[in-house]
């Protein structure tokens, strides 16, 4: 091959550049101590690094959650342990005063002691962690335990601040006699706004978690799942699965759908977007549940979305909506079931006797999503509710970390009402009622057992969180080492490689310096 001068120069320069760029690459990795400085250095490692970092960040959150749970649990535990001590004292008093040697005077004095035990017990049952009551369930607006027992009550109805319905004009009134055994919060949500006669609503007996309770299974938000083509979208809903034992079809009469709880006047509001993204809305009201069929709802869906849409229902109650229009389809549907507002404006909230009466002055209307709620107390000393407080302590695992006041101190959640027992004991002492005093001994024993049971529950919870914490520690260690593997540069390896490159680079330089020295010109002398 004929070698020309430019070939020599080009080869030298190209190789020099190549070695230099590799040298630079190594330098960057050594200086940053990372082998992945940008995604293209190692795309797979880059993806891993981001995933791992997200995992570590999430673990940090779980760790903080566990620490908070631990604080709460240990406080609960110590309060329960104090409560146990108080019960021991109460029992000692009861044992001492139940004997024949006790007399009116000693029992009178003992009743004072019991009163101070009750005061202490109330104070510790009402204690807080941070700004939340330990034994109140989720309710935090009043102290969970009162000093005197109350009768079953339905509190005053309350309205949300953001309601369209005029606030503070006394337009909503609670009534009825509460027959429930636990404290509950009832809520009413307006689905279709407007004047009283036109409005529809849903209600909840657990403060708004589940609307309409077990009585009305409609009202689920339909979620969109993508079909295979561009024009097809399937929207899934949960209609009760059976129609009197047979599969639901379009011809099924509403009355025969078990558990759906629909009635005359039940309204379905349809809201969504059609294939080109335009928002559409419509509604269908069951005029007569004994003659109306599912098909009426499907027809209304088709009418709402336009002529290119077909709606069908399968045996599991899944409604499928298909759009035959070509092109980008953005079909979306939210189907909400709701009940008509009765004439007179009084709605029954379930079967426990709670009623709310709406009085809309002329011209005042309900707005969509207006919220009204009312607390109903079953009576007794406890004002809190039975809600669990929970936090996520590891991926996909929530831990309920509270013991409710009902569980720890009342008969409805536990086996004996501790405050009632203590107050009964005090009453018996005051009344010098020896029979009554010994009658409370058994209750006090059960009360002690009840507290011990809850203490052991605390222990279980603490164990649970300890286990979660240990596995988080393990996971963190693994993630950190994986991150290091994916990301960190091995200094030893890179130092070696760098010195190799240095040698290569030096060789390139000395070759470059020699390049002009070997030519015939050096030998042409005059």
């Amino acid at each position: 091959m004929r070698i020309t001068d430019n070939m020599r120069f080009n080869t030298t320069v190209n190789n020099l550049f190549y070695t230099q760029s590799q040298y630079n690459d190594l330098m960057e990795k050594m200086v940053s101590l990372k082998k992945v400085n940008r995604a293209s250095d190692d795309p797979i490692a880059a993806t891993k690094i981001i995933d791992i970092r997200q995992g570590i960040a999430a673990n940090g959150q779980y760790r903080r959650n566990i620490a908070d749970c631990d604080t709460w649990i240990s406080m609960t535990e110590s309060k329960l342990s104090s409560a146990y001590d108080l019960l021991v004292k109460a029992r000692q008093i009861a044992v001492g005063q139940a004997t024949g040697t006790a007399n009116t005077t000693t029992r009178k004095i003992a009743s004072q002691d019991v009163q101070s035990l009750i005061d202490e017990m109330t104070s510790l049952a009402n204690s807080k962690s941070g700004n939340r009551y330990l034994f109140s369930g989720s309710r935090n607006d009043i102290e969970p335990f009162s000093t005197v027992p109350s009768a079953a009550t339905i509190e005053q109805a309350q309205e949300s601040k953001g309601n369209t319905f005029p606030v503070g004009q006394g337009n909503v009134v609670s009534s009825g006699n509460y027959t429930g055994t636990v404290n509950k919060t009832y809520a009413v949500k307006i689905i279709k706004g407007g004047a009283l006669a036109a409005a529809t609503y849903q209600f909840s007996s657990d403060g708004g978690r589940i609307w309409n309770g077990p009585d009305l299974n409609f009202g689920t938000i339909f979620t969109e799942t993508e079909g295979s083509g561009t024009e097809k979208r399937v929207l899934q809903g949960s209609v009760a699965n059976t129609a009197g034992g047979s599969a639901i079809t379009a011809a099924t009469v509403w009355d025969t759908i078990a558990g759906a709880g629909v009635q005359d006047g039940t309204t379905f509001t349809i809201a969504g977007k059609n294939h080109d993204g335009t928002a559409v809305s419509g509604s269908y009201t069951i005029a007569d549940a004994s003659t109306g069929t599912v098909n009426d709802l499907l027809s209304q869906i088709e009418t709402t979305f336009g002529s290119t849409v077909t709606a069908t229902i399968d045996a599991t109650g899944k409604i499928t909506v298909e759009d035959t229009t070509a092109g980008e389809s953005q079909l979306e549907m939210i189907l909400t079931g709701s009940l008509p507002m009765p004439a007179g404006g009084t709605v029954d909230l379930g079967s426990d006797g709670v009623k709310l009466t709406f009085g809309a002055p002329a011209g005042e209307t309900f707005g969509e999503n207006d919220i009204f709620y009312v607390n109903a107390n079953a009576g007794g000393y406890y004002q809190g509710n039975n809600d669990r407080l929970s936090l996520t302590i590891s991926r996909g695992m929530d831990m309920a970390y509270n013991i409710t006041g009902a569980e720890a101190f009342t008969a409805s959640g536990g086996s004996v009402d501790i405050f009632k027992t203590l107050n009964d004991l005090k009453k018996a002492l005051e009344d010098n009622d020896g029979q009554g005093i010994s009658g409370q001994l058994e209750n006090l024993k059960s009360a002690q057992d009840q507290i011990i049971l809850n203490q052991s529950l605390c222990g279980t919870k603490a164990n649970h969180s300890e286990l979660a914490k240990n596995s988080l520690d393990n996971l963190d260690e693994k993630l950190t080492s994986l991150l290091s593997q994916a990301q960190d540069a091995d200094l030893v390896e890179y130092t070696t490689r760098l010195s190799m490159k240095q040698v290569a680079l030096q060789a390139s330089y000395s070759v470059a310096a020699e390049i002009g020295n070997t030519t015939i010109l050096n030998f042409l002398t005059k």
């Binding site: 070939m7 293209s40 795309p43 959150q61 959650n65 935090n140 657990d206 403060g207 919220i371 929970s390």
Partner: protein
Amino acid sequence: MSISSLLFTSRDALISNQMAIDVTGGNIANVNTPGYSRQRTDLKSVGNVNVTGASAQIGVAVSRIERIYDRFIESQIIDQQQNTGYSDALLQGLQNIEVMIDETQGGGISDQLSKFWSSWGDLAKNPGGIVERSALLSTAENLTGSLASYKRNLDAIKTDLNRNIEDTVIQINEKVIEIKDLNKRIIETAGENGDKNGLLDKRTQALKELGALINIRQFENANGTVNAYLSNGETLLQGTQEQALSVQTNADGGCDVYSSNLSDDSVNSSLTRGKLGALIELQGRIIPEYIHYIETFTQSLADRVNELHREGFDAYNNTGVDFFTIPDEENRAGTIQVNSLIVADVNRIAVSTSVIGNGENASNINAIENELLMNSGTSTLSSFLAATVGQIGQQVSMAKTNSDRQTVIANHLDNQRESVSGISIDEEMIRLIKYQMGYNAAGKLVSVVDEMLDTLMALVK
């Protein structure tokens, strides 16, 4: 055969060798001229003298000056230039995108997203806390800010590409005109000796430069001119007639390239190589893909958070309020923001699942972190981002490998061309010595003839 004719012979020898030295000098002078092909003087013997039974050649002349080059290698280089131009421009564009969306160093969207989820987690522990609510608002605003800046950066790259495409098309048109002019001069100098070799070298060089910009097919005509066509057969240059390219902005805010014949269709689809091919691909396919990713991400995030947020109750027990609002459905990532109701009053954040005021809804929203929302239920929002970063990394890494490979091929072809047409100083110096010797010898011949004439004259005396 006369003595004086020997003088003519030596004159021809002097002239011929001088010419050869001239050509060698030209080669030495152009040792570093790009595209220069070495030239060689072809000498031939002329004039003969007949002696009984045989004849001898006694003169020399320059038959022609030959340009040494390999047509096959040259056209391979023009072809290779299209690959090199494409892979270099593609790599540069992809690296621009990579820098904008790199998440491997932290501080990017995935970090903001982690903080956003974490804020919901903190709020779940203290549903009433104004500090936690405000912290959530600010992490949410940081997240929307990051999304908007990510989108802005991609938009900016797309807009920069418009300018780049326009500039490249201008360069292409200029190159085509340069080649057209060279074609014209090559026709004009046809049949003459002129400096046709220099024109041919210049034209080959211009064709290589054109190849680096756009994919062309080129043919040489019988009259020595070249034609250049786009890959779809559209004419770019036919002899001395050129068809300029033009650029028009399209509905997507990108650029379409049109040929100046009256066709309404853009020639974008046939621009697949050269710098312009890379720019069109970046603008038409790659950037829109990343914009699509971030738009999908934004939509899934907003839809799912809103869906849960609407179900929850705020501190005033209102429900049905969206957390994020997206004013422009065409530019979701660029316009997503926290609902103005919430910005005005953080108590509007729906933390609770009931009117009693718990933190469950915040917990539920926090749990979206692990929900498989993306890629038909196979990946979380965060791993979707990670996959996007992985993809750009993969593309850059592949483009880098390709660019390296194309450079190696180009270097190899350049070496081959240099081997054939390049100048070796050693060779030229040796030729110089050779021709100098010839010249010196011819000069010596003159003095010998002179002495012969003197001798002859002395005979006469």
